[in-house]
């Protein structure tokens, strides 16, 4: 598994371009006797293995790398400048392949295991594309599980919680249409920058005044661009950012409030504002029974102390949420080790911790066995 993980790490591929990774996975799965489906979401691979009668469980790993230049100097560092496995999807693939090999070799389960290798988790929504292209229609499952390595959580530990574990995300663009004019003649135009400032300040009140203080909600305006000269008031300002929360009705409310604030404030200041929601993920919501199963399996592996079953949810997002919208299941974290800050995900110095490969693979194996046993019984 280590060699495999490092090989994938050295050959990172961005969203929907995971051709080498995908081919490697498919080849291995076929060699071990899996029935292999390729082509979902371009590079998606699903390996299915049946042993006796029983239900079907889906185990999902994501495959894509990030457009970041690797800072690490080790042997298996990325061979491609500007691309790296900075989120550990290389490890996710390796762990699931390790489990697949073991399950194929032992066939010690009753039912069907589907190993789902998904492209384009990073921002582009590969999970949704696989589903839209028929993943669960053609290759049905009774439940689906996902796992992410977690820097900051010690090696040998797992963390999960029932209910929301990761937030929904709605990325927005806001175009504020003013009317350009010379910087000396503000009254001949509508200054979109002054309007944008009022909009941004008003947006703060959504979280501070409109949301139940006990509900997590984030509205971040993360970019703003307007104007090119010191003496020209520009025509418009472009803002962008994201909305995050754990609660689907709150998600709808926050999006509506952003639209209302933008519409009202821009109108009051003589401009026009348009909000475009350009991408969005639902929250990752674990069902209670699947969470209990995952917790039980984890505890068998690392003991009660090693499993946090009430971990605080994370405001990041993950497109595995789309799978959990369709099927019961659970998404959990496996400790990647508590290292220095440079080891957080999406950081140029990050690397997946090979030490946890056997534990991750064992978890997948035991989870599949336990799920199928439980459901078969």
């Amino acid at each position: 598994m280590v060699a495999l993980r490092r090989d994938i790490h050295a050959h990172p591929e961005l969203a929907y371009e995971e051709r080498r990774t995908s081919a490697l996975i498919a080849e291995r799965l076929r060699a071990w006797g899996f029935e292999v489906d390729v082509g979902l979401a371009k590079t998606g691979v699903v390996g299915s293995l049946t042993s006796g009668n029983g239900p079907t469980v889906g185990l999902r790993a994501d495959m894509d790398a990030l457009p970041i230049s690797e800072a690490g100097e080790f042997d298996h560092r990325s061979r491609f400048d500007g691309k790296m496995h900075a989120c550990g999807h290389d490890g996710h693939v390796a762990m699931l392949l390790g489990a697949a090999r073991y399950l194929a070799a032992t066939r010690d389960f009753q039912g069907t295991v589907r190993c789902i290798f998904q492209p384009a988790e990073e921002a582009a929504g590969g999970a949704k594309v696989m589903l839209d292209e028929g993943l669960f229609d053609r290759l049905p499952v009774d439940a689906v599980f996902g796992m992410h390595n977690w820097p900051g959580l010690a090696v040998g530990r797992f963390a999960l919680c029932p209910g929301p574990i990761m937030a929904s995300l709605d990325c927005f663009d806001i175009r504020i249409e003013g009317h350009g004019t010379h910087g000396a003649l503000p009254h001949h135009g509508i200054d979109p920058i002054a309007v944008a400032a009022a909009v941004i300040q008003a947006l703060q009140t959504i979280v501070s005044r409109n949301v139940d203080p006990r509900r997590a909600a984030v509205i971040s305006v993360t970019k703003i661009h307007a104007g090119n000269a010191h003496n020209v008031i520009p025509d418009h300002a472009m803002l962008g950012g994201g909305i995050r929360c754990f609660d689907p009705p709150l998600r709808t409310y926050l999006k509506t409030r952003v639209e209302e604030v933008v519409a009202g404030v821009t109108a009051g200041l003589g401009a026009r504002g348009r909000v475009s929601f350009i991408a969005g993920f639902p929250a990752v919501i674990n069902d209670v029974r699947s969470s209990e199963l995952a917790a039980r399996v984890a505890r068998e592996l690392v003991g009660d102390e090693g499993v946090d079953t009430a971990t605080e949810p994370v405001l990041g997002s993950e497109d595995f949420s789309y799978m959990l919208e369709r099927k019961p299941g659970c998404f959990l974290f496996i400790g990647n080790g508590a290292g220095p800050a440079s080891c957080t995900i999406h950081n140029p110095g990050y690397d997946f911790n090979d030490e946890i490969l056997p534990l991750g693979a064992s978890f997948w194996v035991r989870l599949a066995q336990a799920f199928l046993q439980q459901r078969s019984a």
Copy 2:
């Protein structure tokens, strides 16, 4: 004149309550042979005197005192706590009565002089009421002049300008309707204070962004009241303030912009806002020819150096503006002396400067003579 001025000073009367002052004026005018009209705007007095054939000139003085407790300790200080002549209207009355006496005694003019003693200049718009009750219909004039003492301008000096010399004023109230709730539960209501803050900030952009920088404009929110407890978000917030400028179309624009800003920002933040314009004065706009006449007369009295004919207009307001909307004329300032800060108008320590009484009365006499001569010729 000094005794008279001090007698009036000692007996200040508020807007529309100038009964003693009014009676005193009417008695004198009648004694000197003026035809006297009383009752316009409750306490208004107009004395008319005709000598030969000719046009008619109106000379106006205001009579009312202010609800301020006098700080001065001199003999003629106010006998009534909470009322004082803090704007020098006592002196305005005395100067015009002095001129009336002289004109009646000499009859050295061709036409009719009307001395208009107006109540309620301070905020309440006595000039408008007199006009609405028929002042210029029943007692027509060809032109009308007004004069205000001016602390900070040296004794022996006059200041005026053609065009706007004092600003329009529109007082507004803004009611911001939110929805009250417990201070711990902002999401159960609409916080009108957070909305008011956004409105006040947005209102700043009218002057900073929407008005030609070369045009004077003031929008002051001068009061805000909301809430009574530290743990209750109130239902609504009440704001009040005033809009000032010199230009009638700009005046209309500013009022509209305030309404638009309030409507848009409150809507964006989920509240409702209502702007009420509760009082307003037009700008005091001098016509060119009347200004030239007043300047000529003033220069005859104090020499070229003593008359500033291009004084910078003042952002305060004056209801004499209503008279100038109907008739050509001029409003000017007579120096009350350049004293310490305590001597500014509307200050508890202010007093009219008796030293200028003869000059003011002479100005009225010469202005009436010159106007009637000029027009008769």
Copy 3:
């Protein structure tokens, strides 16, 4: 108990004025054989009863009414206009007295029970005064419990949670010192209302940007007062409000941030701002073991379904928090019935639900017995 509760309801007494209530309580306790301590925090009463050897448990009820005029028309309505038991402290007293009577009659426990009747829970911090005057020094307890009736929670139900169950509250006043001037001459002063608007908007960013979105935090500016006239920019603006959260370090941080925002923004706008923290309560934080005990006792009384042991904490505050800062213990809610909105606490139409008196008293009895048993064992 019903007669007693209604008698107290009919004779509401405000904070530190609970003389009749206090006397009535002391008299009963003495009659039943309690050792009675009076005078802590003026009107506080503590009745202590020992039976055999064992630890000591404190049971606390609050006694004060609110300055609200009662809207209810029933027989036991308040006899004093402007005062009423709008928070059900009448019921709290009655339930604890009911328990005291039973415990005195049966003496079925090992150790000491202290029934703590506290004045001035509403805003004035009677609990803190009792402690400062030596409550737990002179009358020590091993743990202390409190209970509040809860409209909206069905009769027959209890709700609690380990950890924070009610928020800390810090009431603040903010004085923004500008410099008064005429409304027409903003440049001669510093407009404290424009500054206040900027401060209020900037304060929103503390919750929206500075606080972990998963941590509840509320900063409500609930009052603002400035200015009296439409044409005078006032000297200063007075703001007031409250800060709430569940986490002590966060509490400190929020207070610091409010001070920093006020200092920075007022300085930037040429004014000065001073924040005064005029009152504050810590969060009510239940310890895990006491919470488990309270939950077990409640379940014995109403079954598993009747007890919510993971209720969502409430952003309101309660000065029982001071007692829990000193001793382990638990504060919990007893259902007052799920009625219409008019029945919420601090509402003129509210009344304590007599139906729950026996359940409440039984809870106190069983809790005392269970605590002393558990600790004695």
Copy 4:
């Protein structure tokens, strides 16, 4: 003159690159007998011509083009994409050369005429560089005059005013240093965009509250750039803009206020702000006597009606102001014709109006003669 103007128009050269234009000018001046100085501010040319004894007058024309792609389709359109004479400096050169030729041919004046051809008027401050390199030290003048074509003012008209005629300009950059973080974790950083919004709103209050409403002042934030991603709160925000006014002490005050607002608001919100003033021009301030002379000369050419001697000052800026800081003089406008909007300066469709070349040249000739005559007398 027309052929010359069109030749220069067809060969536009940007600031400090006016080599062809400069060479052409120098060659002509030498041919006509001027003593020619080259090299000031790289491409500056000064031609001096003396006739008899007398004082020295400077006449200034600017030479540089703008980085704008010409939209016009006429024969003399710019031969270089991305450069054009969109401000009419081609015409300014042609008019002054026309005058130079006439003055050289007739020698009908007493004293010295210096024709100053200045590079880099557009933003880069060529006037200041010429002065810094010794212009008035080596080539002294008693007074200096400048003239700009003015679209919107009819052909055959001149406009000027004593005192300020164009505004000072101070271009600023503001760097707001926050602390970057993931968009889901605002509390781990300092959001520079939220801070920028507060700063921009606070900056509005300088014009709306701190400046005498009768003084023109503009503070325009004309650009803002921060952030590149929808899920990353950036480290810092960059703002830019300009401050304009007519009054030197106000200019200093406005710059100080911008710095104070930025310092205070950023500090209050936990960030840091740095204001850099990257370029600045003083106001163009005409002295009274030079203005009267220019007005007199203009009236001789086009009659009283054709000369507006009290034109409203313009909020644009002009580096001729540096010359007027050193020497008395006057800057005035010559009508370029009142055409459609597309003909305003700095517009891709603009062209200098050849019709006014003779009038402009005549004005220079007569002004030189009149100045030297007046001063010689």
